[in-house]
Symmetry: C2
Subunit: 235 residues, 2 copies
């Protein structure tokens, strides 16, 4: 930090092709080796000189934080359209959100980036923590809330506080996944597991916030494949 960088990441303008390749190398190194990177390691891996690294990113902190900022800038995804929203489309969108989010937080790059940000948050001066939060937790919140409110407007959901509803959804989706991965627990989420988890989370969310009519319909159906819904004791 400190001294302003010369070229990149200062105003947040576009990075050159080469610079992006370097950041990719840094990221790959973070993923496979952890946070204790030496600048020489990075230079060797990226096949560029240390002088260039310092010229581009200022100092070691800049070199390590650049990939975080860069990845964060790529998170932006398309908003979901809230037209023609019926119960099925709502459920589908919720599942899609959940699956997407699970895929993100369980990816190696996300884990590595969050570790770097947490390490930096520990060392007094924050920045990365705010950036990661803004582009993770809060970004998905701002993207999901319109869907929730559209669902409410369509009479499919019922809640007072959108923030509370979103945080519940967040908890139902993420559960213990992120903290376990951050702490080094092996936890390989396959494509199908993510899909199943997303389905369960969406179902539980709808059970909590769906309107009574649709919920009672689901009660009568008593589906077997979604956790958390009551079914009559089989005994």
């Amino acid at each position: 930090m400190g001294i302003a960088a010369t070229t990149a990441e200062a105003g947040g303008e576009a990075l050159s092709e080469r610079q992006q390749a370097v950041l990719d190398a840094v990221l790959a190194l973070m993923v496979e080796q952890g946070g204790d990177l030496t600048v020489s390691d990075i230079a060797r891996r990226a096949a560029c000189s240390k002088e260039t690294l310092y010229k581009w990113f200022g100092d070691r902190d800049g070199i390590l934080t650049a990939p975080v900022r860069w990845q964060a800038s790529k998170v932006r995804a398309g908003h979901y359209d809230s037209q023609h929203l019926d119960a099925s489309a709502l459920r589908q969108s919720l599942e899609s959100f959940a699956a997407n989010w699970l895929a993100v937080i369980s990816s190696g790059t996300s884990v590595a980036l969050n570790r770097v940000a947490i390490g930096q948050a520990a060392s007094g001066t924050n920045d990365l923590g705010r950036i990661v939060l803004a582009n993770g937790r809060f970004a998905i919140g701002e993207r999901l809330k319109p869907l929730l409110e559209a669902g409410r407007a369509a009479g499919l959901l019922a809640f007072d506080d959108t923030e509370v509803a979103f945080r519940t959804f967040f908890g139902l989706v993420g559960r213990d996944v992120q903290i376990r991965l951050l702490l080094g627990d092996r936890l390989a989420l396959s494509e199908t597991e993510i899909a199943a988890d997303a389905k369960r989370a969406a179902g539980q969310f709808l059970a909590l916030y769906g309107n009574r009519a649709s919920f009672e319909a689901r009660l009568r159906l008593a589906p077997q494949d979604e956790g958390g819904l009551y079914r009559p004791p089989s005994s």
Copy 2:
């Protein structure tokens, strides 16, 4: 790690009074200054010599991990008795679990300890990650599951997989609290906020896993103070 420590933390025997005081100092330093501690810092703060620190804990890694192990060893709490379990007692126990867990993860020491463990998990050799997980996430799981199963045995809860049910509870309680704190978000949870969150989480969990009779009773009541339950549109 590496070379076995001489006195403390080797077999996990009791630490002397003085040693505990030193670990308290390390912990306090972690909380207020973050993870980038020098051994000299610690020695100055703990008012002891570096020589003693190395003698007791082996090397820098031992010095930093000792307080984590020590705190972890203190987490053990009494099991909840599952006798005389009715709906009210179950709800009370769930709320108690939730409030306790929220208080733990939002405490400064927990945040600092988790940051240290995450930083160490990033640097190849794990250990702390496993310890923190074993004494946090998994310990509470093992303590809560008997309660859940007792509730099921009493006909108050319905679920197939205890693990799935627990993870749902975990998600409903923690939501985004831990990751936000780890990333440096200011998020002061007051006593009353924790109590309210615990109540909401327990209510949502019971709405998902409670049996139909009690759930329908709560539907008719349409309580105002618990998030996530449907109430008829006031319009």
